[in-house]
Amino acid sequence: MTTEGEAPSRIADASLAAALFSVDPSGLGGVTLRAGHGPLRDQWIAAVKAMLPEGAPVVRLPFNISDDRLEGGVDLAASLASGRLCKQASVLEGIDGGVALLPMAERLETGLAARLAAVMDHAASRADARPAFGLIALDEGLAPEEQPPTTLLDRLALRVDLHGDFDRTDKITPLPRADIAAARDRLAHVAEPEDALVTAVCEVALAFGVSSLRSVIFTLKVARAHAALAGRSLLGQADLAAAARLVLAPRATQAPVAPEAEQAPPDPPPPDSPPPDASADDSASPEDQPPLDDPETLSQEEAAEILVAALRALLPELDAPAPRRRPARMRQGEAGGSGGGAPTLSMRRGRPIAARAGPLNSGARLDLVATLRAAAPWQKLRAAPGGEARLAIRKDDIRLRRFVRRAELTTVFVVDASGSTAFQRLAEAKGAVEQLLARAYVSRARVALIAFHHKGAGVLLPPTRSLTRAKRFLADLPGGGGTPLSLAMDASLSLALSERAKQRTPMLVFLTDGRANIDGRGEAGRGQAEADALTAARKVGAAGVRTLFIDTSLRARPDADRFARAMGGAYAFLPLVESRAVAELVTREGGRALGG
């Protein structure tokens, strides 16, 4: 239970989100459930199942579902076996009024996300033809940039994060099914929000940097569901506060600060900020509130105040740790396109190459001609005596198409932003990024930038192939402080691995003098820092990620070379960092990374 004057605990809000989602699954689009596999996540899903109407379908979508399965089509295997046409139903068939579970949503391909989004849009706009359902996107991402495609995120009203510190005793508890059913019935009778309220939500969303208007609409819808749950027919302050916490807070990209600080990351609100009374409510105790059902409606100012107070109470959690990270506002799209790299085999996309035998399962595509050719020699043998002449195709005849597509290179610059030369190094690194991108315009390579200084390392530029984006993200760069080299190596390794998971070839380019003086825990001290950095370097080496270590110190020192060797990568000594030279080096090394 929450104490007076504080936002409800995260666990209470997670339970509340489950209840609200169950009230109006299709209206709210769905939930992004960010959590690892574990009891809490299972409880959350079980709670939703317990609150949905008896017998409501819950369908787990296959990962990387094919178009045929999403929209229905011909079931080839069954058609072949039976010799007549067998249709394969869409997995979403019969899901009307139910819920779909999407596993590993953070790995969802952009293309598939777009198709899912289209299905959801149709469901929302042409209710008679398409089934209406809510989607639970199971997001197992850990790193901030590991998240489901924005196309999808934007269409799911609620976000629940079950990562982090929860007590063992914390539990997601479902409300009685009857209460939810009653709320569902009441929902239609909850008054549509007044203009003043709409204006207030728009205003607050803008102030907190939530640009999508869909989020504004979702805020109002969640508030209505909350009111329905509490038995109100008018939106009250508790409803607004809950909607602000569940919809707006996770999407906030800035805190409303003075305009001159616009470029700065959200400042943590002052610790002495007034206790936000307004948000001190949770759905389980609506009767604690003053009688909200009173016809007295909220004014625009009151509504805005409630929303801001609710958001303020959560903001400390939103603030990113050092050094700084722009909120992952937009996700790098996953391109199916080919790049300038070495070819990798793909079963689904790219340029077709020779077919091969294999089982006809998800994602594989039948090569009909090759299959028929494989079946042809056996026809006589297979023909049933006296039976009608029909093509007999067996499982072993099936030939699958294969496609070749080129591997795409992601160059990750890991730039030392510590000490006095930080500015120059960063400026030249930025120059190199822009030159590579201007060149990569045709080859479609990606570039990312991690900067490290002071006590941490952060992704300043998530992998992108857009010059426009790079310019905006690298507009101003931090600098100064110590050299947490081991943290930088850890951060870059995790980015490299996440790129590799997306079928791209990562290459890390370190721009540093290699003088580590902050250790893996963020403490100062050269000895420990160097030991940690060496360990981290070996980890990078063990992962087999291609690296290029550009030593920027004035005299070549054994340290830097040692790190380079531990990572098993190339080493270059470049005391006068110059963007053109860096870009040259990187291009050459990148060619090798893809060639080898």
Partner: protein
């Protein structure tokens, strides 16, 4: 439960689409789409912008606004009965003296999903037919469905390269040539290409960009009043689509009439020599490559005059559409911070005065 469909609703399955006329703001986008509808030869519209800016809403809404077309019943390519047979499949029967049934159909607006395979776009061997009846039959793809209409590709910048090449080829020739899986056929595929995408997520290949007649930038409205209006209208639409559509029916009809009459007027719109010269000077001044820019500029200006219901192109028309007709044709300068629209405005101010 028995449901009763009124006749009108039964015949227009698109009737639940948010009306084009009720879109708040987005002047440039709405205008570009109308121009493309009036003169399909302009070559399509590229829409740049963030997600959730209402790009898709606008394009899907356009479908409901477009005038219907006359077509041959059963023709997978929506062939025009007034023209000689163009497709090999169903319309070929016309040559055999069988008179086709002519019907009125909505102008096709085809959504091409990002993950679409080549099979689905180009068309492929009808597997069902091949397997079960042993017949070789062509299953038309999205290009066939889009013939004489619009092809909309959301996030076109993320499209597979092999598909981009294919689209370029088809868009240039107006014909889809299928040579695969033992099939060999060609069918008409003339469509207005509408692409959208966020340049921050991947640039578009210059060759493809150049094929578009118009390009517009779309941003999420930042004006509070506009944002409130968007949300209010959306809520009203979701709550009672029929009522909302009723409120906007008159405005929808007006826009539809405007498109139809502009398309008729188009051939009558005169282009004074002075305007031709101004267009040429502008293209030279901004350094747009090739003649395509100039040609498009004139066509767009003419369509704009036609939409406004006047019979001659004026310098005002030219100036109002120059940024969207030329913006994407300027050579990229990685070091130029300002956008191409700024360069065009600057050039126009120098050439034609403020």
């Amino acid at each position: 439960m028995v449901t009763f469909h009124s006749k009108g609703r039964f015949f227009s399955p698109m009737s639940k689409v948010y009306p084009f006329s009720a879109i708040v703001g987005q002047e440039q986008l709405r205008r570009a789409l109308m121009i493309a509808a009036v003169d399909p030869a302009i070559g399509g519209v590229m829409v740049f912008g963030d997600r959730g800016t209402g790009k898709s809403t606008a394009v899907r809404a356009l479908a409901d606004l477009l005038p219907p077309i006359q077509t041959i019943r059963g023709c997978a390519f929506h062939c025009d009965p007034k023209r000689p047979p163009t497709c090999t499949a169903d319309c070929a029967r016309r040559a055999d003296g069988i008179s086709p049934v002519i019907e009125t159909a909505p102008m096709p607006v085809v959504d091409m999903p990002l993950g679409a395979t080549e099979d689905r776009v180009v068309g492929a061997l009808d597997i069902e037919h091949a397997l079960i009846r042993g017949e070789k039959r062509f299953e038309p793809g999205l290009l066939a469905r889009a013939n004489r209409g619009f092809l909309y590709i959301d996030e076109i910048n993320l499209l597979d390269d092999n598909l981009v090449d294919l689209l370029l080829d088809v868009a240039a020739s107006g014909e889809n040539v299928v040579e695969r899986e033992g099939l060999s056929l060609r069918h008409p595929a003339r469509f207005v290409l509408i692409g959208s995408g966020n340049p921050e997520e991947g640039e578009l290949r210059p060759q493809l960009l150049d094929r578009f007649g118009l390009s517009v930038d779309v941003r999420t409205p930042t004006d509070l009043g506009d944002r409130v209006e968007v949300v209010k209208r959306r809520i009203a639409f979701d709550q009672d689509p029929a009522k909302f559509l009723g409120l906007w029916a008159k405005e929808q009809a007006r826009l539809r009439r405007q498109i139809v009459s502009a398309a008729k007027r188009l051939t009558k719109v005169a282009t004074p020599d002075a305007i031709l010269e101004a267009a040429a000077r502008l293209c030279i001044a901004v350094g747009s490559d090739g003649l395509r820019g100039e040609l498009t500029l004139m066509r767009v200006a003419r369509a704009t005059a036609a939409i406004e219901g006047v019979d001659a192109v004026s310098l005002t028309h030219l100036r109002s559409i120059a940024p969207m007709a030329l913006g994407h044709r300027l050579r990229r300068d990685p070091l130029d911070e300002g956008g191409s629209a700024v360069r065009i405005e600057r050039a126009m101010a120098e050439l034609f005065g403020p």
